[in-house]
């Protein structure tokens, strides 16, 4: 299939409306620059930067909520290269909420580790901006812009502990493999562009829709694009960087990247695969399903043998990504008129995962010792005796990750597996269920350790005190985990509305 050359986009200045609809991104982008400048002013009073960052993120969150109601059925901005729809606003809300929680737990942690530098906050905002671009990207160019925006910031952030070898190793590993991933992604994009002649997702979708037979070159492009995304979402077999980077990076950075990167990556996977490449579904379904199963198996089995919480959570996050990918593999298939679809499941799971995973990592961050992380299983023993509320919160997060009701994590799994059963992919759901059964082992193991007696009553325990900011973050995450596990309808209706209003609005053939 040889497409005609794309019509040249007229170079006119975008309308003011387009600019206004981009408000959440603009706020965060402006915040990034403002924080860089503010850093020069505040001197050693760096907590001001955290306050400012939270103000910007909250403003962005407010703008996203406003955009949620304002966007209606959604439309594109800038000649079809950016989406203004409920889907991106949903993702924006999750991203900004997560980033704000990360900022809350950061100052204390960075101080304790002795790496409290001003650019940290600016970089977090820059990475958030990149992710928001990914969430709304409707063009291959914007997707690449978003991926690079978040990656460049995260390369620096993961090596933020400049004097520590581990952190350096993490940064280098992430940089090298991330560079490879970007290469794959670009190559795939080039192939898809070469086959369809478009960079805009809607036009690509339309071009694919009108073809009956898929060109091998096009399929190669699709697979390479998937590889690029899979690196970012740390899916097997592109996950090898995950444990080392998660463990080596400062914990607040790990918190940030383990949650927000995945959210953004899955947002773009859904937009590109579930909706743009919908007519190639029969080709990529198997690949996605196999990657999902591999992630679930490898993530869960590897997590079983870990002895450090950060590393365990890293492997378990691979498995979590596998569960989410089941929702992608379901695509838009639905046997019944039921409202449970793959995309709804993915969106619900992302929200659930974000609030739970941030909480779990926040506990490690809050408990950090002076100059080092205390995240070995032995170090957690007896936490419940010293810090009953922190331990209770951690228990809640672990149960949610393990998918126990009545937590939000259960319903994340529930909706994804339900979508799979709805699409007659019962076997995929059974794989997911086998994985969750395994995961119960290692989550409960940590939960139980916290409730065992400390080994030596006399020993001075090195856990730091919980600050007000950290406590607030923990409380918010715990409340979200529990409340949305009971009042499920709130998030579910949101996910459903986001799914219904997603662009590109090419009539689905399935």
């Amino acid at each position: 299939m040889l497409a005609q050359s794309a019509p040249l986009v007229p170079l006119v200045t975008p309308s003011a409306n387009d600019l206004l609809d981009l408000l959440p991104e603009l706020i965060v982008g402006f915040g990034f620059i403002a924080l860089m400048l503010l850093d020069l002013v505040v001197g050693r009073q760096r907590w001001w930067l955290a306050v400012a960052a939270i103000v910007f993120l909250a403003a962005g969150f407010g703008a996203s909520v406003w955009g949620w109601f304002d966007s209606g059925n959604g439309h594109t901005l800038y000649f079809g290269s950016f989406a203004y729809d409920k889907f991106s606003m949903f993702i924006n809300c999750v991203l900004l909420f997560s980033s704000a929680l990360v900022i809350l737990i950061s100052p204390h942690y960075l101080n304790r580790r002795g790496i409290h530098h001003g650019e940290y906050y600016a970089l977090i905002l820059a990475a958030t901006l990149g992710m928001m671009l990914l969430a709304g990207a409707m063009s291959l160019m914007v997707i690449f812009l978003g991926i690079e925006g978040l990656s460049l910031s995260l390369y620096i952030l993961s090596g933020f502990s400049r004097t520590e070898e581990r952190s350096q190793e993490a940064a280098l590993k992430y940089l090298l493999l991330g560079g490879f991933a970007s290469g794959f992604l670009l190559y795939g994009m080039a192939l898809v562009y070469g086959e369809t002649g478009h960079t805009q997702l809607q036009q690509i979708g339309a071009a694919l829709h009108s073809t009956t037979q898929a060109d091998p070159m096009l399929l190669a492009g699709v697979v390479l694009i998937f590889v690029g995304f899979a690196f970012k979402a740390s899916l097997v077999p592109f996950h090898t960087w995950t444990p080392d980077v998660y463990q080596g990076a400062p914990t607040s950075v790990t918190t940030f990247m383990s949650v927000t990167t995945k959210v953004a990556a899955f947002a773009v996977i859904v937009r590109v695969f579930t909706y743009t490449f919908v007519s190639l579904y029969s080709h990529w379904e198997v690949i996605v399903a196999v990657v999902a199963i591999a992630s679930i198996v490898v993530g869960n089995v590897a997590a079983l043998t870990q002895t450090h919480v950060k590393r365990m959570l890293a492997y378990s996050s691979i498995a979590q990504a596998g569960y989410i990918l089941i929702g992608v593999a379901v695509g838009t298939l639905s046997n019944t008129s039921s409202s449970i679809t793959g995309t709804t499941g993915v969106l619900y799971y992302l929200a659930a995962y974000a609030v739970t995973q941030i909480g779990a990592f926040a506990v490690i961050t809050i408990m950090a010792g002076r100059g080092e992380d205390l995240d070995s299983y032995d170090g957690l023993r007896g936490l419940a005796y010293r810090r009953p509320f922190v331990a209770a919160a951690m228990g809640l997060f672990l149960l949610s990750l393990g998918g126990f009701p009545p937590t939000v994590g259960f319903f994340g799994k529930f909706f994804v597996f339900a979508a799979a059963v709805n699409a007659n992919l019962t076997l995929l759901a059974l794989w997911g269920i086998a994985g969750s059964a395994i995961s119960v082992f290692y989550y409960l193991r940590v939960a139980l350790l916290m409730y065992q007696r400390p080994k030596d009553e006399q020993q001075e325990y090195p856990w730091s005190r919980t600050t007000i900011a950290g406590g607030t973050a923990l409380l918010a995450a715990a409340a979200g985990t529990l409340v949305f596990g009971i009042l499920v309808a709130v998030v579910f209706n949101g996910a459903q509305a986001a799914q219904n209003a997603i662009l590109p609005a090419i009539a689905s053939t399935r």
Binding site: P405, V421, T426, V488
Partner: protein, 518 residues
């Protein structure tokens, strides 16, 4: 007409009590025990009141389950899952048993581990709430929520308190149970999508069953011999069979019972062990009438195997807790046998026997706990002659022993008799083999009782003293109930029988001719 959400209260009160306990300083053990007992008593009073009023509540309308005291609120309207609670003769008795046993456990809770008393009491109350929720839910998603959620407090209770090898035993139990319940989750999802109703509500699923010919594709498995309903039923059945437990799925039980303290066993053996049986009646019979008729011979055979296997194992053990654990397995076989007769007699017998067994096993494990605490051993061969040192315990133990072996005049006779009637209706060989189980039951229970109580004293039993008044007051009501329900079983039967016949009629399908005559 009933403005007070009594059923919700039965779930929320214990959980609220557990939260309240967190405000009490851990040192004030008396206050902690007091609060726990008060909350457990309150729930027991509610359960008793509801049960008393249950026969007077007009069966409500056209609904197939005729649930009383219903509460229904939207929960996740987009997928028509609702917060729907209801009480019938089956769940009524089990809720009563639940609250009663937790009250007993709250009274019997040991003072020795004062440091962790608050956590134990709180977890106990949360378990009570979750179990009540499981029994009251009339919506499959809500049921699953409580069914699985119940494992959280149970996990911390079982793995935190008890013998040295409790961790492994608990892990086995939890993994077994989770594997089963996750299978059930897939089954629930399939039902939801296959049924025309697209609802998780139990009653609307009964009214709108999935079409019989719908196709389920499981690559790699030849499904031609079973209908999809059968496979889905198996998903449910494995979850329930593990929890019950039926014989091939029972391996978690003995070790867990041995490792757990008596207080835990009061409610764990007493009520948690009944959840599988409850699930079979409430969900198996109503949602899969044709499948359960297909599989009833298999499950009845497993039940009878369990009766004999448990009895023989009980006969061969020397550890008193292990004997009781296997005895419990054997008696649970009777309950299962009653269910799978699919007759009114059998099922009402099973319901009655669930209540009876809960009372008896709680008493027996408490007694075993008292003996172990005094002698420091559980080995039958090291103990003898306790009647000389513990005359009060001797009497109470005697009644519980006789009840356990099904002596007429005790409550267990009534239930086992009804189960036997049902078993004869299904097929006489089953009943004969099951009767063999009761004969062995006489043997091992009397062996246990005589071995502990008679003969000259041994070193371990030389210096023991009798149970204290407080311990006797915990046991006495249980023993009184054993005799009371044995001579006057009418109230239990009156409530259980209508429920049983209702479930039988829901499960009634054109039955395949039995393979051997009755």
């Amino acid at each position: 007409m009933n403005r007070v959400p009594w059923l919700t209260l039965m779930i929320v009160l214990p959980i609220g009590g557990a939260m309240l306990l967190q405000l009490v300083p851990a040192r004030m053990t008396s206050v902690i025990r007091g609060v726990t007992v008060v909350f457990a008593t309150a729930v027991t009073c509610i359960a008793g009141g509801l049960l008393f009023n249950l026969p007077h509540m007009a069966a409500s309308g056209t609904q197939p389950l005729s649930l009383a005291f219903q509460e229904q609120r939207d929960w996740i309207p987009a997928i028509s899952a609702s917060y729907h609670l209801g009480l019938d003769g089956l769940s009524g008795w089990l809720v009563m048993l639940n609250s009663g046993l937790f009250l007993v456990a709250a009274l019997a809770v040991s003072r020795s581990d004062a440091e962790r008393l608050r956590r134990y009491c709180a977890l106990m109350l949360v378990s009570e709430g979750a179990i009540a929720g499981t029994l009251l839910a009339a919506d499959l998603l809500l049921f699953y929520l409580f069914w699985e959620g119940m494992l959280i407090p149970l996990y911390f209770i079982l793995s935190g308190f008890g013998g040295p090898r409790r961790g492994q035993a608990t892990l086995k139990f939890i993994v077994y149970t989770i594997a089963g319940s996750l299978l059930m989750l897939v089954a629930i999802l399939w039902l939801y999508f296959a049924s025309g109703a697209h609802s998780f509500d139990l009653e609307s699923l009964i009214i709108n069953p999935p079409p019989a010919q719908s196709v389920m594709v499981i690559p790699g498995i030849n499904v031609s011999t079973f209908t999809p309903q059968d496979l889905v039923f198996i998903g449910f059945a494995i979850a329930f069979a593990i929890k019950l437990p039926l014989v091939p799925f029972h391996t978690w039980l003995p070790e867990l019972y041995v490792q757990s303290p008596a207080t835990t066993l009061v409610f764990f053996a007493g009520i948690v062990g009944k959840m599988g049986a409850y699930g079979f009646i409430r969900y198996g019979l109503t949602l899969f009438p044709s499948s359960i008729n297909t599989f009833k011979w298999l499950f009845a055979a497993l039940a009878v195997t369990g009766i004999i296997y448990g009895a023989l194992m009980a006969l061969s053990e020397r550890d008193i807790k292990r004997i009781l654990a296997y005895a419990s397995l054997s008696h649970l076989g009777f309950i299962a046998l009653g269910i799978f007769t699919l007759t009114t007699n059998g099922i009402s017998g099973a319901i009655i026997q669930m209540v009876n067994h809960g009372i008896i096993i709680a008493a027996l494990f408490l007694i075993a706990g008292y003996i172990e605490r005094r002698t420091g051993t559980r080995d039958l061969s090291e103990m003898a002659g306790l009647e000389k040192r513990m005359p009060w315990l001797y009497v109470l133990f005697l009644v519980a022993t006789l009840a356990s072996l099904g002596m007429p005049g005790t409550n267990s006779f009534v239930g086992e008799f009804a189960v036997m009637l049902g078993a004869f209706q299904l097929g006489w060989p089953l009943a004969v083999v099951a009767l063999g189980g009761t004969v062995i039951a006489c043997w091992y229970m009397l062996r246990l009782h005589q071995g502990l109580m008679h003969d000259p004293l041994k070193p371990a039993t030389e210096h023991v003293h009798d149970i204290r008044l407080s311990e006797g007051l915990v046991l006495a009501p249980l023993v009184a109930l054993i005799i009371l329900l044995g001579v006057f079983p009418k109230p239990v039967g009156d409530i259980a029988s209508p429920a049983a016949s209702q479930y039988v009629s829901l499960a009634s399908q054109p039955v395949a001719p039995p393979s051997f005559g009755t």
